[in-house]
């Protein structure tokens, strides 16, 4: 753990009135990570992101971003942080270019020289380089999303904090964004992405944190979460023979579902060789890993936003 921390929180808690939106949260994001922040609707992801950026004040707890306390050091920290919070926003009557120029000019100590180049370069990065001067109110959802990302990238941040960055994008767009984020990460940018799309996180992130009703339930390297379970999944045209042979070999078949078998074994190649030697064909073979979905569903309770009515007291019908 020699890398510096990009985001660290301790005992972060936020009450909205008497409602506890985030509870005793301890985040730990290191520089160079692509951190996936997972959680069901209403679990407190956006609230956490807002607290990291100083938009919402924590009720208690400490936040450190890029090694400095937040929100106290916002002036020094935030210029190095690019962010997108709950969807993009821009001045609707101005063009995307004008919007970026304004956002660039707002930052403290922003210099006028090179502003135009910065804007054009960023537009190119998100694939809006060729956009005309139409006002943002005429943009499509995807264009707005890209513009929002451009605003986040404008100042070449060391840390990107993105709340659901792919909302509303088509598959191609999602792939573009993913590629862009990975490219930025390769150049040394730490990326913090919140999402409830497990598949997206799975493809992008190196570390994940899972939030459930404002509490952190899992925080681990993705590789660890997805370590092999010690079982091998195989498919065979002759399952009965295979089961008999495996029994003979002293291997336990833990699941049997038609022509698919789950076998406790460490080495897939060895298992394959044993079966083939016994004249049993194998047409599918893979090491079983836990999916992120399993991890998340195992760790979390029912949806945070589903306010189901509590079961009614049983009526005594006599």
């Amino acid at each position: 753990m020699s890398r510096d921390t990009a985001i660290r929180t301790q005992g972060l808690t936020k009450y909205f009135g008497r409602f506890e939106a985030v509870s005793d949260l301890s985040l730990d994001v290191r520089e160079g990570d692509v951190y996936g922040f997972l959680g069901a609707n209403g679990s407190g992801k956006t609230t956490t992101v807002r607290m990291l950026l100083g938009l919402v004040l924590a009720t208690s707890g400490e936040i450190e971003v890029l090694g400095r306390p937040m929100p106290r050091s916002g002036r020094e920290v935030l210029p190095h942080v690019g962010s997108m919070i709950e969807g993009p926003a821009a001045y609707a009557h101005l063009s995307g270019r004008a919007n970026l120029t304004l956002f660039d000019a707002m930052a403290p100590r922003s210099r006028r020289t090179g502003r135009k180049d910065r804007v054009e370069e960023t537009l190119d990065r998100v694939g809006l380089g060729g956009v005309d001067e139409r006002p943002v109110k005429n943009y499509s959802l995807g264009m707005r999303q890209r513009l929002g990302l451009a605003a986040a990238l404008l100042r070449k941040p060391r840390l990107l904090v993105l709340d659901e960055p792919t909302n509303g994008l088509d598959p191609q767009g999602i792939r573009d964004i993913r590629a862009l984020l990975l490219e930025l990460n390769a150049d040394g940018t730490t990326v913090f992405v919140s999402s409830h799309l497990l598949a997206e996180i799975e493809q992008l992130c190196t570390r994940v944190g899972v939030l459930d009703r404002g509490r952190m339930v899992v925080q681990e390297e993705l590789a660890v979460l997805r370590a092999p379970t010690g079982r091998i999944l195989l498919g065979t045209p002759d399952p009965d023979a295979a089961i008999a042979q495996l029994d003979r070999l002293g291997r336990s078949v833990e699941q049997h579902d038609g022509r698919r078998l789950a076998v406790r074994a460490a080495d897939a190649a060895e298992l394959n060789a044993e079966l083939v030697r016994a004249g049993i064909g194998v047409d599918e073979l893979s090491v079983e890993r836990r999916s992120l979905e399993d991890v998340v569903l195992a760790a979390t309770s029912a949806g945070n936003d589903t306010f189901a009515r509590p079961p009614r007291a049983v009526q005594d019908a006599s």
Binding site: F16, R50, L53, G54, L55, V56, L57, G74, R75, L78, P79, V81, S83, I85, E86, G87, P88, A89, A90, Y91, A92, H93, L94, A98, L102, F103, A105, M106, A107, P108, A151
Partner: protein, 272 residues
């Protein structure tokens, strides 16, 4: 940030539409006066309007007296009421704050922008009115030296110009008070319409209270109390009493409401 706010203000089409609309009323009044040659009856109608039929150079003041009680403050309430609530509703507030733009700095920039709007509007109204007044109004056949003060003495042209600019400045200050109230409400209300309506109800209510004897005790604290005191600049000698009180009152309003805006906004949760 101030520069950004100003550029946003100047680039917004709404700014110019509003100014054009405000400007339209005194211009229309000027044209109608010129066509019909019918001044208001004494004691009725805004200040100076009866005088412009003989002296067109007074029309900027008459125009000011026309827009100051209602039109201008409404426009200022709408513009300044939008300051924070409008950005919040558009979602841009959070992106502005994480630039980062300090919250106090944002408030200052918003107030300056509102002030710029006021200055721009007042100058446009005064300039148009001057052109209308000189071209259409006044009795061109009588080449008089200077104008007449409200007290009946003559005012030289430099005196008139100087006092006119003082009057414009005074009106701008009064509108700054409105802007400060609107800015505060804008940090409280979740919609800019709410902030604008709140501000309007404050100055409409204040104007109403001024007409009641029962409100004697609080009269001198009402925001609209001295709005029309700019007329006193044209008495001879100038009656500074109400003007001074008006300046102090407006400065106090700006101080209190700006402080309140800051107190409310500095640690407000931005969740829109």
């Amino acid at each position: 940030m101030i520069r950004v706010e100003l550029s946003k203000l100047l680039r917004s089409r709404r700014t110019w539409t509003t100014i054009a609309l405000i400007d339209a009323l005194p211009t229309l009044v000027g044209v109608l006066l010129a066509v019909t040659d019918l001044g208001p009856r004494p004691g009725e109608g805004p200040a100076f309007l009866s005088a412009v039929l003989t002296d067109g150079t007074l029309f900027p003041l008459a125009a000011l007296a026309i827009v100051l009680p209602l039109f201008l403050p409404i426009a200022v309430s709408v513009t300044a009421g939008e300051a924070i609530a409008g950005e919040a509703a558009a979602g841009t507030l959070r992106y502005v704050l994480v630039r980062p733009v300090g919250r106090l700095r944002l408030l200052v920039a918003k107030l300056v922008a509102a002030m710029a709007f006021v200055v721009l509007t007042v100058l446009v109204v005064a300039a148009t009115a001057y052109v209308v007044g000189v071209a259409l109004l006044g009795d061109q056949s009588v080449q008089v030296v200077g104008s007449t003060s409200v007290s009946g003495t003559s005012l030289s042209t430099p005196e008139l110009v100087g006092r006119t600019f003082l009057a414009l400045g005074y009106a701008m200050l009064c509108m700054l008070g409105v802007a400060a109230i609107a800015l505060f409400l804008s940090t409280v209300a979740s919609s800019s319409l709410g902030a604008a309506l709140g501000t309007m109800s404050i100055f409409v209510g204040s104007s109403l209270l001024l007409t009641l004897d029962a409100s004697e005790a609080i009269r001198d604290y009402l925001p609209t109390r001295y709005w029309l005191a700019f007329v006193d600049l044209f008495r001879d000698p100038i009656l500074w009493r109400d003007l001074q009180a008006g300046v102090i009152l407006q400065v106090a309003y700006v101080a209190v409401f700006f402080a309140a805006a800051w107190a409310n906004f500095a640690t407000k949760d931005v969740t829109d």
